[in-house]
Symmetry: D3
Subunit: 164 residues, 6 copies
């Protein structure tokens, strides 16, 4: 088992994918941001009245997916065919769940694009709400599933790592 | 209590900080990435021999701090006076801790810059190791402390939110 | 009267503003996008129900203001203290008006930042609606007022140029 | 008739184009910038002698076409096969016309790339000349024609919208 | 013989490559940075002990290859399948050699990507060491070989230009 | 003597300059691109007739100066007060000399900005002419002088390194 991102001298490289075929690929990532109950309430109620935190977060997540190869050093710059960012409100846990689904037709997977979209969507929620709640915590960002490519399908066995 | 990032019509805006004085500001953020013990071992042993995952992650984190205002929609573009990204190995938890310390002299805080540096450093570790461990989880990214500016000092009361 | 953006050999340059004092500066720009009445109706009604075109446009405008020096070759890269993008619905003209107000404390004006924010906000409305209305027209983007700096205050005499 | 850029919950998304075939696509956009006659004269005469405003504007337009997916939130990042930006002097109207022609072979159209190139070329002319003419107005940016893709050919019926 | 980057009016353009077939392409570029012997010694010895200058330089070179179309105005934005940056220590010449190998499957060559990677890797070495050696010189950046595409194979006849 | 860009653990960092005073700073860098005599002739004659290679190169150099902190990992993002890029034709050496002069008022020097502007201007000349001359060589990019800041004035002793 070896890291593919290093050459024989231990220098990082952007792995050559030139011989991989173009296939349809999908990746879904997920994460959470935990906050005070009153912050969550402000976000939920604000959508209609005061200003839509999640609308800004979601635009940020989509734009970040497209920027992934510029943010993550060894990521290939690829054409994304679609990006979806969705939110779920967890009132019991006082948290918002963020899920990003990214698709491409190409030579590399889009796991990093999905994970980056989730991370940036969470960071943007933090930014929009930090004046009222500095203690928010971004939690459990992980890959939920992927398909396409040589490494085949991956579906997270939820129980192994994430104890949310 | 109100979100400052929205105007009276509920439209987002970049808050006007023109009347704030220039002060020295510091922010420290922290996060973790959990992985299989064998992945952690490969990272730790690799530094000397096979390739330095954390060196790449750290460069990515520093560069991301400088990109924050382009990634987070309502963040001000500011001059950073310093960025430090450090790692800690937690063998018992099979995780790597990432801490970013960002400083500026200016009109706005640098919490988002520190949180973005941590997030991107974690994402880069994921990217470098994903071929051997797709199940890694990024956890508990949060602000540890900040100082400077009108809202004054913040020090996380560790026990409230993060149950790591 | 001379263009300041060229040197004595006729080569463009980024004008040296090192000796200018830091002053408070404001610029307000405005523009319109004309469309079919049914497109305008869809945007206005959509805000509550189907999806908020103007929320996306407005985030794009704010982010573009921060990117101005990377888009416009001879623009200085400056710290913006605030950016506001507002919309007005003109049912009689079947158009949406976009106004951007940008502020800074620095050595150069922010006219280009305000004009870029308006342009990109209009382009984003076009993008979001083009599947239903390819004929939309972006019109009459101009500076409405500016203050601060050596060239002093500017207030558009509405009647001279724009015949909207 | 619906906006395709929103999902069933009214959240924006980058539309999935994964099933669209790769076809040759062309888009042509056009716009104008109106100015004082003496400003126009300075630009026209300057090309040979003092400095070439339009050369800078044109580089800016081409570079902006390539940046479109980073400026317009829901635009796909695509490979452009060609970008051409041309100018026409209208002495009677004291204006410069800008036309951008963008081509690709891919899954999405390039209307936004052509419109962005025109907008940024106009903004750059404004920037280069603003020291002598703050009242310039950017006018009538619109799509002139497109071909390729499922929605087929579009040719503007000049008389409907633009009354230039 | 003509420059292809200009149209019949002498305006620059991004050449249309839409009719070119997708082929495998490789480009290798090389350059050097000359420095004081003690600076070279610090870099070589530092890798293990004090901090790895070349690790940072190499990440910068890889990221720059991906940014080429945003840095070089008339370059097409293309998908790179692989980027490798390697270093060689020349103790006799008190210099570090940098070689970048870039691959793609596409319609345009990757010479500019390889040359940009080498340039930025050299600039980064300069930046990391400038506090101890301001006199470093970046030398002899050139294309060593390319293959693929209509213009076919190129292999530098070392003796013609570079007298290093 | 130590590299300041590494911390005690050998990890790179963006050096903290928060305690440095804001001073006026200037840096001048220079480089060359050597080419076939007929290529040089095409560039020189083209300016008036066929298309201005150096106009594009110069815009690219100025824009690159502003992008330096995004290209060079440990560079601070700073406000530049002015950027000038000039060319000199050396017919005897069949080369073009590029000189960049960058100024700021701030806490860090602008050597990297000047060196990056020169590098990118040279790369752009290569790009514009590569269809007729693949053998061009970029040579002897170095700092000519700097002033301002604690490290004081630097003036290159031309004879030591560059043997052009």
């Amino acid at each position: 088992m070896e890291f593919t991102h290093f050459d024989e001298e231990g220098r990082a490289r952007m792995v050559n994918v030139g011989e991989k075929p173009d296939t349809e690929r999908v990746a879904v990532a997920r994460g959470f941001i935990e906050m005070k109950p009153e912050t969550l309430k402000m976000i939920v109620e604000g959508r209609a009245k005061k200003g839509d935190v999640l609308a800004v977060s979601q635009v940020a997540g989509i734009m970040a997916a497209k920027e992934t190869s510029r943010i993550i050093p060894m990521c290939h710059n690829i054409f994304l065919t679609g990006v979806d960012v969705k939110f779920q409100i967890y009132e019991d846990k006082s948290a918002i769940g963020v899920e990003a689904r990214v698709t491409t037709v190409g030579k590399t997977g889009v796991e990093m694009e999905a994970l980056t979209a989730v991370s940036v969507a969470c960071l943007t929620i933090y930014d929009m709400c930090k004046a009222v709640d500095r203690g928010m915590v971004i939690k459990d960002i992980c890959l939920m599933e992927k398909s396409g490519g040589k490494s085949g399908e991956y579906i997270r066995n939820e129980n192994v790592f994430v104890k949310y």
